[in-house]
């Protein structure tokens, strides 16, 4: 056995390596080719960015704005930590990614608040409770609010 390994071991080694790496590389390429027709013409981040970018001219060039969505603000990060829902966090992060260098705070307590309701409206009474008054409805669940100091 030792003699066989000594004689053919190196050849077997590189052959095995070439075959398995070749399989792995081609398999990855094949999977990508197979999935290519199902890839959306525009990726979700670009779509989300185009949607949120409508807010840019309505906001000051710097400073902070608030953020509200379908769920309470506290649930956005909690849902991701428990792997139950990453969508709300992704929407929040992409809103920040698009609106940089403005800071998007995960809170309704700012003079201007971005409402991102792509997954449905918030719980009844949520907006009234936080004194949020619609300033501009940009459609597709995107609304800019102003915080009414005296709700």
């Amino acid at each position: 056995m030792a003699n066989v390994i000594a004689k053919y071991g190196a050849t077997a080694g590189w052959l095995l390596l070439v075959l398995l790496t070749g399989y792995a590389v081609m398999n990855l390429l094949w999977q990508n080719i197979r999935l290519y027709p199902s890839i959306a013409e525009t990726d979700p981040v670009t779509i989300h960015e185009a949607r949120i970018a409508q807010l840019r001219p309505l906001l000051p060039p710097s400073g902070a704005v608030g953020y509200v969505t379908t769920v309470e603000n506290g649930e956005i990060f909690a849902a991701e930590k428990t792997f139950t829902n990453v969508e709300f966090l992704a929407q929040y992060v992409l809103t920040q990614y698009t609106l940089a260098p403005r800071i998007v705070r995960n809170s309704p307590d700012l003079p201007l608040v971005v409402g991102n309701f792509i997954d449905g409206p918030p719980a009844p009474g949520f907006l009234e409770k936080n004194g949020l008054v619609p300033l501009r409805d940009l459609g597709d669940g995107l609304i800019l609010y102003r915080k009414d100091r005296k709700p």
Partner: protein, 517 residues
Amino acid sequence: MIVFFLAPLLLSLISGVLLTFIFLPSPKNDLQGLLLRLFVGGGLGICLSACLYFVSLPAGLSGYIPLIDLAACLVLGLIGYVLMKRDRREAERPAESQLPDRKAALPGTGSKLETWIATIFAVELLASLGSFLFAFLKEPHGKWDAWLIWNMHARFLYRSGEAWREVFAGGMDWSHWDYPLLLPLSIVRGWKYIGNDSIYIPAAFALLFTLLTLGLLLCALAFLRSRIQGYLAAMILLGTPFFIMMGASQFADVPLAFFMLATLVLLCLPARSPENRFGATVLAGIAAGLCAWTKNEGLLFLLIVTGSLFGTTLYADGWRSARKKTVRFLAGTLPILLIVIYFKTQLSPANDLMEGFSLTVAAAKLTDFSRYAEIAKAFFITGISFTQGLIDLRVGMQLNPGAVNILLLIVYLLLTGVRIDDRDRTGLVRTAAVLLMILAGYFFVYVMTPLDLGYHLATSLNRLFLQLWPSVIFLFFMTAGAPETAPYPGDISRTASKPSTTKPAKGNKPKRIREPK
């Protein structure tokens, strides 16, 4: 437009290559030597340019970055030219190449086996580039961490203009503003050149670091072992779907993997070219410093490499040599480390892993052995499966070895046998020690983590393993017997054990290669 797109990359590449001419002077600049310079220098150059950009920010000179880059390039070129002239004069006297003697290091060069393997490598490279392209088309902004951390930071730094400092105190802890800025600043520098924050710049850097890591692995092994070993090692990396995926994802893990590999490779070079101990060790120090400027894990790596360098040199060559080598290494690290220290003390918010740290909490975690068991299990499963890609967080960690994984390397080593050049022994012990210690370091970071352990392991461990993967492959192929030792049909004349006709270098020990048992 394309000129402005390529200019920051080209200027950085040129600066880096010139840096290698300064620190690794070589009278023989053949294709092989130039390629090694290109891959080592390319990565170092890109990131040193980012350091230069960071220094220009507080000075208010970021608008002049093309001029600063050009000036740096010219200065390095001038220094390189002067040193080259001096070396050429010295080369007229009998002297040896400063880089390893390639002829002696390349048994079997040009064999049929090499041609076959090179051809297969080329096909695999093209297929992997195709996969990379598909991944980019699917997610041009990169994956989650790219737009949550790296590209987000780049956007803030680019769009904030003079108010760039304010973002660090912006309270966006979830975006990890304590993470080092090498990658974001490299991207910002590219955007400055083209005048807008195009998505193609982060993607170009992602592709570049993927190729640089691959090229460095190939060229380093081609220099230190043989071209065939280089191709096979690079094929292992290409056959790692997670490497291609992470490369295209625009994360900082592949750049960190590059700098870790560059550090360990550069620390192995002096054994083959004793007259060039100084330069290679300084460059290794720079590369290790850049690890710390790429990701927080890089700080742990820097600490471990410095300790291992000192320890292994002390054991092999004594106190004097250990002190000298460590000082040279730290001399390379110091400029980058100063930048990291400035960033960590003046700009960066506290790291989330330090949240709520106290001795009582630490003691409780250190004595909770269920944590050790959970981490050990995750290390085992991920160690075998990480090459296959991201974990489905809803399903959790599952054993998924795929075609290419650490077991393949072990089988390859068993088949080819161990063949270590005596000159490489200390370097290889050091490389192995660094990799094992960093794994131990990661283990204890998980033991102490304030985050939910399962969440932390599931979202980061596979990327930590990927950072070490190119260095692990390098270590395996530096240890494994070369396939060209096996008789190849129609090509029996060339073997690795064929005695070298090259006269041993002055000061070099004659090569003693241990046959596989």
